[in-house]
């Protein structure tokens, strides 16, 4: 059973993610900006809660594909930041 961050420890979960996000972004935000980010993290947790509520078996694999190969011609030529 997964812990439910939308109830008991919700505030702590939001604060923890907010601190992590701000540390990774590496900048100070004003109060309005901080409110926007906090609100988005709250929403993010609600969505995570919905996704975690879907029963999954141990062998339910993610829908992403990994194909070992010797590389692809032109890889790295796509526009990058």
């Amino acid at each position: 059973m997964l812990a439910d961050e939308t109830s008991g420890d919700r505030e702590m979960a939001v604060d923890t993610r907010l601190q992590l996000a701000l540390a990774r972004a590496g900048r100070q935000l004003d109060d309005d900006q901080r409110r926007i980010v906090r609100s988005r993290i709250e929403r993010q947790l609600e969505m995570a809660h919905l996704v975690r509520a879907v029963p999954l078996a141990h062998d339910d694999e993610p829908a992403h594909e990994f194909s070992p190969s010797h590389g692809l011609a032109g890889a790295g030529e796509t526009p990058r930041l």
Binding site: M47, A53, T78
Partner: protein
């Protein structure tokens, strides 16, 4: 050129092709007309970032010379088009709709730009878009350095996003065809708002090489045009494998479907809450037409958190794709205030949440495939409302984390989707009907759309004369 400019502005790709081959018009004249309308009507709608006259006139001159020499590259030969400004075009700025990137220039065309050129199409401009394809959480239309995308039918309404310029430019008769992209709604919404036909291909059918990456596992590139047949023509040119975009490997080649009847459709037992009465009424009328070309069974969307899973996948991938940009002072150059702190929250999404969303995605793919098995397409309103006001903030329903929409399900699962004009709704603005198909059912969905348009004329209705005369001293042609 014997055909009038007014008559040409709203002609379909197929109609223009016939005129080119009969000699009633030539490609240079079509390119000049498109460039002029983009520069006047298009700029008036904030639909244009960069015109590409040098490329356009050179490609058009070559198209004319080839036709004279008996060389015909197919239905796009000599046809002008616009490309969303997240697609690289060698030597021109590719801004991604965002001021911090407005001077970015790539030295190679995007795969779709290459393929359009190979098919003989003529690139006339880079079209406006919501900055960074809307992935930074914008909450109102003023979210592009070119200004809010204005609607082809009413300048005071929004063109939709993020392919705003693609939808408006086709809707206003600047170009007969545009290439847009969709991660979640970015083709089908502008198509619905501007009264044009838009097609979102199956994920992986069209190469994304040279396109801005927002979400590697959700980004799709597709056409907007006046008709489903035109979208089919464009898709045939741009679809296909590309070793430089691994998502395209293994997809079957696109083959058009010539059926015009005998379809099997599904419709959801009830339309989504929040659907405007006019939209619902036109949807019911559209169902009558679909019954003429096939059967319709009611289905219920599986009970899975499509929207939540899609949001987590999109946010985590976008934050990774823009990790060096998110939260920097450079991001303060974005137009929408809320975008300047966009995706900072997503930097803290745990890998386990992302992977759980991908595990749920597999469940969703299986459930949607089972739901759509045996059907050519699922029918639903193209969008719940007509275009919103240019100064309006988006509604609360966009933040409803519990919602399960066909748009969320379709984009999470990589399903093809087609939006067709379905008649005027509130304030005379376009409504739309949407078709969603199984993976790789692109041809069937387009064939059903073509059959619908053979029985309706909504796609031949264009913005009021008054609007164009006032805004850009041009006029429309009368619908057939």
């Amino acid at each position: 050129m014997t055909a009038s400019a007014d008559a040409l502005s709203f002609a379909s790709v197929a109609e223009l092709g016939a005129l080119l081959r009969s000699g009633d018009v030539n490609a240079v004249a079509l390119a000049e007309l498109a460039l002029a309308r983009l520069n006047t009507v298009g700029r008036g709608l904030n639909a244009v970032v960069t015109l590409t006259p040098d490329t356009a006139l050179a490609q058009a001159a070559r198209a004319d010379a080839e036709l004279r020499a008996g060389i015909d590259r197919g239905p796009l030969h000599g046809i002008p088009y616009g490309a969303k400004d997240l697609l690289a075009a060698r030597g021109y700025p590719t801004s991604w709709g965002a001021a911090p990137f407005r001077n970015q220039v790539f030295d190679r065309d995007a795969a779709v730009v290459e393929r359009m050129a190979a098919a003989g199409a003529v690139l006339t401009g880079k079209l406006a878009m919501v900055e960074l394809a809307g992935g930074f959480g914008y909450e109102q239309p003023d979210a592009a350095f070119t200004g809010p995308g204005r609607n082809a039918w009413d300048r005071e309404r929004w063109a939709g996003g993020s392919s705003s310029g693609s939808g408006a430019a086709v809707g206003a008769g600047c170009v007969p065809l545009a290439i847009g992209s969709e991660t979640w709604g970015s083709i089908v919404v502008p198509a619905a708002f501007n009264g044009v036909t838009g097609f979102r291909p199956t994920y992986g059918l069209v190469s994304r090489r040279g396109a801005m990456a927002l979400s590697w596992t959700m980004d799709k590139i597709g056409p907007l045009a006046h008709t489903a047949v035109d979208c089919q023509i464009a898709l045939a040119a741009i679809a296909g494998p590309d070793r430089e975009d691994v998502s395209t490997l293994g997809r079957p080649p696109f083959q058009p479907d010539t059926r015009r009847s005998g379809f099997r459709f599904a419709r959801m037992a009830s339309v989504e809450s929040g659907t405007e009465p006019h939209v619902a009424a036109h949807f019911d009328e559209a169902l009558q037409v679909f019954r003429e070309i096939g059967s319709i069974d009611e289905v219920t969307l599986p009970d899975l958190p499509f929207d939540a899973a899609a949001t987590i996948v999109l946010s985590a991938e976008a934050a990774a794709a823009f990790e060096e940009f998110v939260g920097t002072e450079e991001a303060d150059g974005l137009t929408a205030v809320e975008n300047r702190v966009g995706l900072i929250d997503a930097l803290a999404i745990p890998a386990t949440d992302y992977l759980r969303a991908l595990r749920v995605r597999r469940k969703a793919m299986q459930a949607m495939d089972a739901l759509l098995q045996g059907f050519d397409a699922l029918l639903a309103p193209g969008y719940l409302t007509v275009a919103s006001g240019i100064g309006e903030r988006f509604g609360e329903e966009q933040n409803d984390v519990e919602s399960r929409t066909i748009g969320g399900a379709a984009n999470l699962c990589g399903l093809p989707g087609l939006t067709l004009p379905a008649g005027p709704g509130r304030d005379g603005l376009p409504t739309a009907v949407g078709l969603t198909g199984r993976v790789d059912a692109d041809a069937a969905v387009l064939a059903a759309g073509a059959a619908f348009q053979e029985r309706t004329s909504w796609h031949r209705q264009f913005p009021p004369v008054k609007f164009h005369e006032e805004s850009a001293d041009t006029s429309r042609r009368e619908p057939k």
